[in-house]
Amino acid sequence: MNIRSQVSAVFHLDKCIGCHTCSIACKNIWTGRKGTEYMWWNNVETKPGVGYPCLWEDQKKYRGGWKERNGKPELIMHNRASALANIFFNPFLPRLDDYYEPWTYRYGDLFGAAEGDDQPVARPVSAITGKEMEIEAGPNWDDDLSGSPIYAANDPNFASLNEEERKQFFALESMVFFYLPRICNHCINPGCLAACPAGAIYKRGEDGIVLVSQEKCRAWRMCITGCPYKKTYYNWSAGKSEKCIFCYPRQETGQAPACFHSCVGRIRYLGVLLYDADRIESAAGSPAGSIARKQLELILDPFDGEVIKEAKAQGIPDAVIEYAQKSPVYKFVKAWNIALPLHPEFRTLPMLFYVPSLLPVMAHAKGNLHEVGHDFFGSPDNARIPIRYFAALLSEGNEEAIRAIYRKLVAVRVYRRARTVGNIPEARVNKALDEAGTNPDEIEAIYRLTSLPSVEDRFVIPPFMREAAIEEVTDPLNKRESEGAGFTRKPKRGW
């Protein structure tokens, strides 16, 4: 057992309202600079849809992530041997039009226009070239099913649907969408890290945050291809790649990352998971269909005496173990089994987990009329999105894994309605609980953490003990006295 601790996350998709406040919180702080305009370390996608960059999930196009060979993971873009051969040539990068050309407007014309015979207007211009431009793409171009015949209809997760089924998806009685907010998954087996020829990418020992060293990066851009989630970006101005840093400067000071803090839907949960690094390779190289299960297995039970003992022996601070026990992420992922990683088949072992969204019940068309289904609440098999879709997204196509989660989510609602309204017979409530394999205590716990959590309940940030972390290079007392004094200069461009 090789125990590591990682700050991990759960996004409760049912609660996501698709507002993108998280994205702006991040952009304000981290990616407003020149060269970073098109970077959305946090973005929100409408599903069905093609996402950002366009069709990122399509690894036939981008060759991101890992494949399995002889029970071991191997980067799809190239194996280690051919990495050097391809070092100057990376054909699988998204192009500018897979992202978008960032733009601004000639706002100044509104003040400066000379008197004329018509109203002046601020026209869009490229943020890169300064020239007038036509806007043809953006970071959320298919938001809320915009351009659905072009974008949503070509969602890669529809691969298993036939033409007729796809069409039916956009009929009134079955139409639906939901939101998928995405940040860097701070994977256990990061494709970006493995792909970097310069060794600039690393996973922090104390918290598992994956970073691109802005000193070491040499702009090979292999990380961009290696990451199947397309969550590393190339800063065209600075000549460095950058990515989500999980707001380590905030976490180190006891604050949740900005996108978590600002989440108005209150969908985000943050906490420590302990895992066994000895099992990474086998989990990432396990046969198709078992990857998510294997990943779940390498997450350790922080209440298990053996794990605690071993963790202490390996130098994991007591406080971190304590926080692992309080972790809401552990509850959702392992104790309750209702959160799954995004596209586990990419084999990066992502440490961000999603609770699938409940959706309106299916209706049916009666001539020109619309009748909604008979169900009081939705249920897994009459929801507007096929179970198959969520299975493609979160469970390597395992529909039963998704159904099991739905049964539990619905059981919570049925149980709470019975308790608060009282018009559901006890037998029906018990049946719902039995089928979901749950009990009133678990139901109440799920309910409370879903509906009533405070900020402190959602974000259980472990102590970072910065004084200890820096004392090898700086005397903390000296830091106290001199921190910030001196010059702050922009880093040199390029290498």
Binding site: C19, A122, D144, S148, S213, L369, S451, L452
Partner: protein
Amino acid sequence: MSWIQDLMKPKARLWEEFYRNRWQHDRVVRSTHGVNCTGGCSWMVYVKNGIVTWELQATDYPGLDPTAPPHEPRGCQRGITFSWYLYSPLRVKYPYIRGRLMDLWRKARSIHADPVEAWRSIVENEDDRRSYQQVRGKGGFRRVSWGEALEIIAASMIYTIKKYGPDRLIGFTPIPAMSMLSYAAGTRLFELMGGAVLSFYDWYSDFPPASPEVWGEKTDVGESADWYHSKYLVVSGSNLNMTRTPDAHFAVEARHNGSKLVVLSPDFSQVSKHADWWVPVSAGQDGAFWMAADHVILKEFYAEREVPYFTEYAKRFTDFPFLVALEKTADGYSAGRFLCAGRLARYNQVENGDWKFLVFDKNAGEPRMPQGSIGYRWQKQQGQWNLEMKDGADGSALDPVLSLLGSHDDVLMVRMQDFGTQKTFLRGVPAGYVETSEGNIPVTTVLDLLFMQFGVSRGLEGEYPSGYHQEDMPYTPAWQEARTGVGRDTVIRFAREWATTAERTQGKCMHIVGSGVNHWYHNNLHYRASITALLLCGSVGVNGGGLNHYTGQEKLIPDSSWSAIAFATDWVKPPRHQNTPSFHYVHTDQWRYESGIMGYRPGPEDKNFGHRHTIDHQVNAVRRGWLPFFPQFDKNSLSLMDEAAREGAKSDQEIVQWVVGQLKSRKLRFAVEDPDAPENWPRVWLIWRANALMSSAKGQEYFFRHYLGTHSNAIAGEQARDAVREVQWRDPAPTGKLDLVVDINFRMDTSALYSDIILPSATWYEKDDMNTTDLHSYIHPLSAAVPPCWESKTDWDIFKALAGRVSELARTHLPAPVKDVVVTPLMHDTPDEISQREVKDWSRGECEPVPGKTMSHIAVVERDYTNLYNRFISLGHAVKKDGLGMHGVRWDIGDHYEALLKSAPVNEWNGQKYLSIAEARDAANLVLYFAPETNGEMAYRGFRDAEKKVGMPLADLAERYRGVRYDFGQLVDQPRRILTSPCWTGITNDGRTYSAYCINIERLHPWRTLTGRQHLYLDHEAYIAFGEHLPTFKPKLGPESSHDLLRSAPEGKSLVLNCISPHGKWHIHSTYYDTLPMLTLSRGVGPFWLNDKDAEALGVKDNDWVEAYNDHGVVVTRAVVSARVPRGIGMFYHVAERTISFPKSGLRGKRRAGSDNSTTRIRLKPLFMIGGYAQFSYGFNYWGPPAPDRDTYVVIRKLGGKPQW
């Protein structure tokens, strides 16, 4: 050795300071966004090296009761973008002026030493005046100094006051709750000058007339946390994710507590994602769905069985048991007026007998007169205005019957009209006969009329539907199918689930509703249809229940103390308050383009309400004292005083009599009777905290033509000439009515671009102010993270400076105090509301003109222009003398005023000492000090006062909180929760979530309505004439009756679409729309959303340029093609600024195309113009016709060729 190695080495990680440096900051300051979003979110603004860098939400709201989720965090994608504005290229950093005007001014000033003379020389030269009007909106701005800008504005004001009268000065600023002191600064100046202040809530069509109709209340709703307590949530016309972004989680979280969420929406809207049921009701037809649900509830939960909770609630808290006279008609009977108690021998001696009403008492077996009606409110004897079930005459206990069925004397055939088909039905109603002073007359109860109206026969004869499946008879589940597109089984199941939930939970059913429903012409009917379901099921006035209408941040919580400052009633009473829909309808001449109202007023003809044209109703409403209108008269209200004096009128009373005589003899005319005469035009318009020429300019192209005199894209023909009777028609229509338009702004928006002078204002991160909302029960501050940037100033300081400049010029031009006549309509919450039981018109000789009774009040007030500045900065002594109040409740503050003179900032002038409000922060502290919501002692005093009238214990609600008092500094530390207040109806004690009307239910406090109960029956003769006395359904306007397309022919491949403009995702109206972050997420433009099949028919692909046009104007923008939009509807989220990325239109002279308001023209519903009758009495932003915009039709086509710029 494991697969992936973690890195601990601190040395290799020194570079990590790269991002730590970015995070570091110097200061964090609490503020919020003064935008009309209803969010009212607490934000922390981060400052680094004196520059605002970003903002994040505060998470320190005081907790609610722990059975509800906490608020944190509040704040959305738009709010978090705000810091972009501060240093953006759109920021107005300096004062600007239109170059042409500057040249004229400097030339005039070189000739005239006196600025007022200089202004006169410009505006009285028609060529000069036209020369700068015609280039409005067309560039040519120049920087100007503050001194010069203020001098021009002050000179224009003094000139206008002297030449035409102060009521030609117009101030527009909306939604005080979003930054109440910035609002108050300008309105205070206007009211001190005698200018007219324009309303906003009705103008935005955010005001729901159904609320005064049913509850006698502008709007009172639950805070969003209360949604969590609902067990059946229906959301329609309110896209929670989009428009209630920080609140939506309460609804989502309620679902995980076992609540059901049903969304009614024609498109698969963002909130539909959270629905258990998404029901795609056809756009604008919501009422039909609810009417059918009501039918089911009445049948299954009233007729077939009795639910004790429902009937007990209905007896006490609704007008259901009240007796209504049935009037004989040609073919049967029709429902008439409420039977007045005074007409019975038993009660003919009671005071206000015409204003007390009757129920049929089970014990006595005859009609009895319960307490609580409006007659008790305004009678001499105090303490009977309550909902105790007692006879007001002898105190005997009453048990009213809800229906006469069983005890009826007769079954009479009553006429019911279906406005969809224009068919009428005769239906049997159980009636009793009552001996009155007018003979033996048949009566029935409101509930019996509801059974009749909704078609639930209870075995009675007549043209009743045979069951749920009869399609041709309203309001069966089958009938609604053709209107809504929703199957009957869905409605039936819905109604059963709704009523069953209410029965089980004692009313925890809620309807969250908003502009998606309220912006239709017949909004009141849609609302009353769902209110019927709520009242039938006892769901109003309980936590987790009720009608929660959220549109516009209208709730200014400390209203009582604030309004004294904002409307300067500490110095001058009454203020000049104008309902804006009437104002703009008349003055922008939109009435001239309207042929009449019959297209959207299906209903019988009538003597008083049968006019064909809205403008005639408008004129009558002003004459009869129902609505205000400014300018008041065709003469200057100041120089009128000289005329009165010449003719011997000396005392105020004599002056009033003289004015009445002049009006009666028609020597003096109301300006509204001849609005296009130059002396009746508005002249100077100040706009602040508003986008009055874009977001708020419904019929924008008419604003451009008739107000501004610049070019316009409208091609509509005038149609009113032969239809109007009461108004003077003038040819040609005047253009360019306004002499000066001033915009106070921090960003270069459309209004700024079209104004003559732009004054730079401080942003919400640069000033002290306060903010409240309906959506939560906290009050919190705006405060300055950095000082006002560049040359900007706070609104408070701008108006203070302007007051100073006006005072200086007044020393020459208006040196002594002068008298002014102010006309105000019959007001709600005053005895005026029992003044007009019958409609009589003095101008037709039907009665005498009696101010305050058959016509408006006429008051003589004093204006002191030289002391304008002193008055502006001092809280006048009138509040010390008269106390403060709201909604008919008053309390004294004199002792506290005196005490504060010793500790608070003070001004001394003319030998008097005043509390100072020279600084915004001082004003904030006084607002907080004197408001019952923020000072428990004031709440206690207010409740004590209310107890007298109501005769029930109330003050205990405030007793425990008497010592609680907040000041501004405390709010900056942490937002504070408001106290339970006599001015509102919810109870917030002990963390309880605010739900409207809990005080009414729990303390038997009447609603401020005719019977004191919640009203489904509205017996004013206008309601009967319009056929809206009972809940009913009227379909939305079609493209033909809209008259939007008389001259706009389809061009090539095109479609006619109903163009609706819901609230968008990337903007709050126009604010944030123009920021780079939001434009980046909205495809760089405000796009037009089209259904995919409609797009295919048009040959339009996603992101193509399209042209949408009608007679009023034209839009050119990009298309978004999406299956989630229904066919036949175009969605153009309001408000895209015309300033950003709009090309020209080949259709309209190759001129710049407009935005959403380019294709609108307003239509007012004359029904809402009535007055002097209980809840139908005027109040600022409380009553009057709203200006709906959703019944708008456009032709759409693909733009030919490349866009032209």
